[in-house]
């Protein structure tokens, strides 16, 4: 068999493979560039940063994807066996390896920095002073939202007080709890006002997922985890449970209304309070 250096034979299988790679590239470009389906509409301040990180990673990995799949397709089409000629005999190129290795590492370092800037800002920037804190408690298979009310102080809660009508165990005798509001499955927040969700779980792990606001945080029994975000769009949104929590997991939905003004939000709170106290 002759030593190889010339072109290989172009084969049906090889061309078929190259065509599949071409289709894969075109379809994925269409999906990721034309975006016939995409993220739920962005509706929070920090969400823009998260989307920007996603886009940066998408551009880098997208280029890598197209280049590698295209090269694979081309080589496979180009270098079929002819039966009377050997393949090239080379199997090392330390210089090329070095450049590719360092190149990859450098690109990744850039991505790490871009991602970490957003991550650190989200988790370590001081929480805004004027934020509204809402104590959110997850349980199989619903959400409880506990508001401090006008006094800004949460009433005492006690696990031994929990029953069918008092799901968060609010101590009615505590002075601070007089104006507290507890809402099941329905959360209201005013637009453009920083919100802190203080997340707890009563039973198993759940996850507080606001797809439009780019918020996701697991609710872990035994922990109280604070999640900040600022909604930027008024309207009705959905809250999903993103962590498998039991048989009816899929039903663990909450409704989130982002009120167009503080006034609307306060009216809702007032209405909820009078529902509770019967005034």
């Amino acid at each position: 068999m002759a030593d190889g250096r010339g072109p290989g034979r172009i084969t049906t299988s090889g061309v078929a493979f190259a065509v599949s790679m071409a289709i894969l590239i075109v379809v994925s470009l269409w999906m990721f560039v034309a975006k016939p389906w995409w993220f739920p509409t962005l509706s929070s301040v920090h969400g823009a940063d998260i989307d920007a990180v996603f886009t940066a990673v998408l551009i880098v990995t997208g280029i890598a994807f197209v280049v590698t799949q295209a090269m694979l397709g081309y080589f496979v089409a180009r270098y079929g066996a002819s039966g009377n000629e050997k393949a090239d005999y080379w199997h090392d190129n330390p210089k090329a390896e070095f450049f590719l290795l360092t190149g990859t590492a450098l690109i990744l370092v850039v991505l790490v920095f871009m991602g970490q800037r957003v991550w650190l800002k989200y988790y370590f920037d001081p929480l805004p002073e004027n934020a509204i804190t809402i104590q959110v408690t997850a349980q199989q298979f619903q959400w409880q939202f506990h508001y401090a009310g006008p006094d800004g102080k949460f009433g005492r809660t006690d696990l031994t007080l929990v029953d069918g009508t008092n799901q968060v165990g609010l101590d009615e005798k505590d002075e601070a709890s007089k104006d507290d509001v507890v809402s099941t499955s329905e959360m209201h927040i005013p637009v453009n006002r920083p919100i802190i969700v203080r997340l707890r779980s009563k039973d198993v792990i759940h996850s507080f997922f606001l797809p439009n606001q780019r918020v996701k945080q697991d609710a872990v029994p035994g922990l109280a985890i604070e999640v900040p975000f600022t909604p930027t769009v008024a309207g009705n949104f959905e809250l999903a449970c993103a962590e498998l929590c039991g048989a009816q997991h899929y039903k663990m939905k909450g409704l989130v209304t982002v009120d167009a003004s503080e006034e609307e939000f306060n009216n809702w709170l007032k209405a909820k309070l009078s529902e509770r106290t019967g005034d």
């Binding site: 068999m1 030593d3 290989g8 084969t11 299988s13 493979f17 599949s20 894969l24 999906m31 389906w37 998260i50 996603f54 990673v57 880098v60 890598a64 090269m71 496979v76 270098y79 079929g80 066996a81 000629e85 393949a87 005999y89 080379w90 199997h91 090392d92 190129n93 590719l100 290795l101 990859t104 990744l108 790490v112 970490q116 991550w119 650190l120 989200y122 988790y123 199989q140 029953d163 069918g164 039973d203 198993v204 997922f209 439009n212 996701k216 697991d218 029994p221 035994g222 922990l223 949104f237 959905e238 999903a240 449970c241 993103a242 498998l244 048989a247 997991h249 899929y250 039903k251 939905k253």
Partner: protein, 596 residues
Amino acid sequence: MTDTHGHHHEDEHAHPQLGFWRKYVFSTDHKVIGIQYLITAMAMAVIGGTLSLLMRLQLGWPHGSFPFLASLMPKAFDSQGHMDAGFYLSLVTMHGTIMVFFLFTAVLTGGFGNFLIPLQIGARDMAFPFLNALSYWIFLLSCVVIFSALLVEGGAPLGGWTAYAPLSALPDAGPGQGTGMTLWITAIALFTASGLMGGLNYITTILTMRTKGLSMMRLPLTQWSLLITAVLGLLAFPVLLAAAILLVFDRVGGTSFFIPGGIILGGKLIEHTGGHPLLWQHLFWFFGHPEVYIVILPAMGIASDILATFCRKPIFSYKMMVYAMAAISGLSFIVWGHHMFVSGMSPFLGSVFTITTLLIAVPSAVKTFNWLGTVWGARIQFTSAGLFSIGFISLFVSGGLSGIFLGTSAADIQLQDTYFVVAHFHLVMAIAPLFAAYAGLYYWFPKMFGRFMNETAGKIHFWASFVGVYCVFFPMHILGIGGQMRRIYDPLNYAFLQPQQVLNVFVSISAFFLASAQIVFLVNFFVSIWAGKRVTENNPWKATTLEWETPCPTGHGNFGPELPVVHRWAFDYSPPGATEDFLPQTAPAVPAARQH
């Protein structure tokens, strides 16, 4: 070792007639054990695959009525033929568990590991043949136990293959969390024990029983990958076993390793106090991430060797391939927290795990360059095995790149627990390894059974599968970007998911297409065992490695009276000056060929 084996070999001559049971069932021959693993795992794959089809049926048509299935499984469907939500989640749990442990880990290390290690290193059997057989029988027992979880009262557990506590720790937390969960833990513990026995055997055998001339840097990449995988298993499996034992204590012993105080379940305050749910996640993923590489590394090794064979070209940068696998496996122990970015773990750790995780992309990229370098300038023979090894590269690239999104903690906030994750890990640690396993089956089938699998059927299988897997798993990225959560019984329950339901329908239809392509494989496999074209030579693919020095199928003791002696590396394809386009590892020095 030679002495022992000489003795062993004489033994075989002294007792040439093993009965049917000793020869094919309770055998200590590594090849029989390997094939037992393969066939058992294939049976588990049929079960695991069927479960996924039921899931796809539900996801494609969430409000659909399936009276026929309801008549088969009356407990799993209501009177109108709608699937039960708890049953859907047991499908999720069992599909994941069966595929990760009982298919992929079992096929790649148990099946190919057992079959190939002695053959490719020029040994007559494993270092501890009895332990090897024991490992298989315990594996089989674990398969029976996990399967029985589907049949017991309350059904299989519904907490997913990750079995997060406290859902897994509280028997009252849902149907299936009682007996079903107990069986799940038992099966996993048995599987772990079996895996440890196998791993110990692989390491000892590869390190101590290589034939003369076969230095470590002359090993085929399959052997390197199996060695590294065995080390990973030895370090990772005990952690899972320990976690499982702690979980049992929490469930029946009144301890609280994973259960904090103050849990109210069904309106009642639970008596546990002081545990931490995240401890389970740390232990599970400390095992779980190396487990990903326990699956993918042997796939890389197998695909690399088969790729070189059918490219008729040496693997590009053999040394870097070995170092990359070692680097990946080392890093795999310090990245587990990327499964937990939004778990409530300290965000400081999130930063650390992002850095370590993205580091893994470097050796992974090295491997991809090297595969491309192997195909460049090749003379590809488009056999079924060769096609599957090429398909592996494409799938590994597709699945690997999406890992960069998920490893970037900031982007993961949105993507965690969505179908983007499902798309990522299916492509990279299920479908790519599946393709490598298929490549391996088509390639070593002649060595196992003395016959070929049908090539036409093999190519139909490849093309249908290649198109099928992309149609099933690629749109899942988009579903995940759209926000569809994992493990959701009815996506239509959420208004924001409704516009993309058409993608779910497309994925489901593609899944049925993909599954039917696997029937072509199964028929081809089993028919070919008895009716395939006979292999008339030792080395039908003109490959270099030692298993091809033995007859097809290989007899007990593997090699003739003399063990082979190795003179070169495993990748002398198309060496200049040689008359043929390969030189087997046993070929003595040829002046014109480059030496290794």
